[in-house]
Symmetry: C2
Subunit: 229 residues, 2 copies
């Protein structure tokens, strides 16, 4: 019997790479989608291609979105600084308006073309508690929408949105991926990585990631611009 198809949103970072490993281990024929919406860390797209190949994705595509307006986020608007000091409270400036809604919509469109009923997404409600669109209730609402919005849903082929790391902390995510054989040296999480994929070691994404390896008791394979102090 043919493997069921799944579409995964793959940024090339630690979280989505772990989710890809979960989907592959679960026996899906996994089609990876990266979204380029003008984010600063284009190095992630290169990482996504490497990761998709290394972990055995059946295909990898990049959807490009030009919002046509400033994005209102430090990740898309050059006039807003990426913060490097101290944990933020409330909704971070790195929050991109409606990002996960938009990316899941693109994944949904591709899933419908492929006949895939399963979407995988690496949202995380623990480390990204300030992001409205990383919460379980958001994921459930998108799944409800997906089944109303599509041919598959109307015809009774129920769509499922999987967010397998949504309740895990970074150490748990790293342990999960390591147990599935993920080489995190391929991944890029940094908000301001160099084009070669070297991480700054100072932004919130870098701090969260490094803490994950430390707390998991695993060595950190991340390539930094300067070795962290």
């Amino acid at each position: 019997m043919a493997s069921p198809r799944a579409v995964i949103l793959l940024s090339g970072g630690l979280d989505s790479t772990t989710v890809l490993a979960v989907a592959v281990a679960g026996g899906f024929e996994v089609h990876a989608l990266s979204v380029d919406y003008g984010q600063r860390h284009a190095a992630e797209l290169g990482a996504a291609a490497r990761v998709a190949h290394a972990l055995g994705a059946a295909s990898h595509r990049v959807s490009r979105v030009d919002l046509g307006h400033p994005g209102g986020s430090a990740l898309t608007d050059p006039s807003i600084e990426v913060p490097t000091d101290g944990p933020s409270s409330g909704i971070p400036v790195t929050y991109v308006p409606a990002r996960n809604t938009l990316m899941l919509s693109l994944a949904l469109a591709w899933a419908e073309v492929l006949g895939a009923q399963d979407l995988f997404v690496g949202v995380n409600a623990v480390d990204y508690s300030g992001y409205p669109d990383c919460r379980p209730e958001f994921v459930r609402a998108f799944e409800t929408l997906a089944n109303l919005a599509t041919r598959a849903g109307v015809e009774g082929r129920r769509l499922r949105v999987h967010a397998p790391i949504i309740e895990l902390d970074k150490a748990q995510i790293v342990r999960l991926g390591a147990s599935l054989g993920v080489d995190y040296g391929l991944t890029v999480s940094c908000y301001q990585a160099t084009p070669e994929g070297l991480a700054c070691g100072r932004c919130e994404a870098c701090r969260l990631r490094r803490d994950g390896f430390v707390r998991a008791g695993l060595s950190d394979p991340t390539r930094y611009v300067n070795a962290p102090g």
Copy 2:
């Protein structure tokens, strides 16, 4: 007091132009968004710009989306013919997978940047009864999602999704727009309009539109490639 801001999805066709007129008449400062996802009828984008200006939109932007894969629709995939004979049943081949989900997501992103709490969309459940994402339950599900997905929703500034023509037939839509002073000669609905905006007069969109004018007892200002027989 400043007018509340709204974002409208404007294709440049008859339906969304009517909705723009409704939003303007309702006292909103209306920001119009057109989405170019590689559809064949690019003439609509020119019509959208003309319509936005003529009806007094505060701004008009185009978001470009490159899905990175064949669209699985006659409107985005050159290998699928646009049908020209007989009304279709079931979900039409002109259905674009997840189109309204994607376009509303783009509108939601812009609304959050603008601080707009109102989205307007010209979906219609009467003429487009075969499209899953033109139904009232889809619109309600998207509104629920929008309030879970965004800073505005989390902070208690409730987002509303308005679909004022969803239950109207084409004749009612045309009468509504005419009563608000809309010049439908500016609009393009045809699935395969020429770059100059001339309509084929034969596709489903053309047939629905012409019937609307006939049943409303109004003259049809559409510019056709050949005058319809």
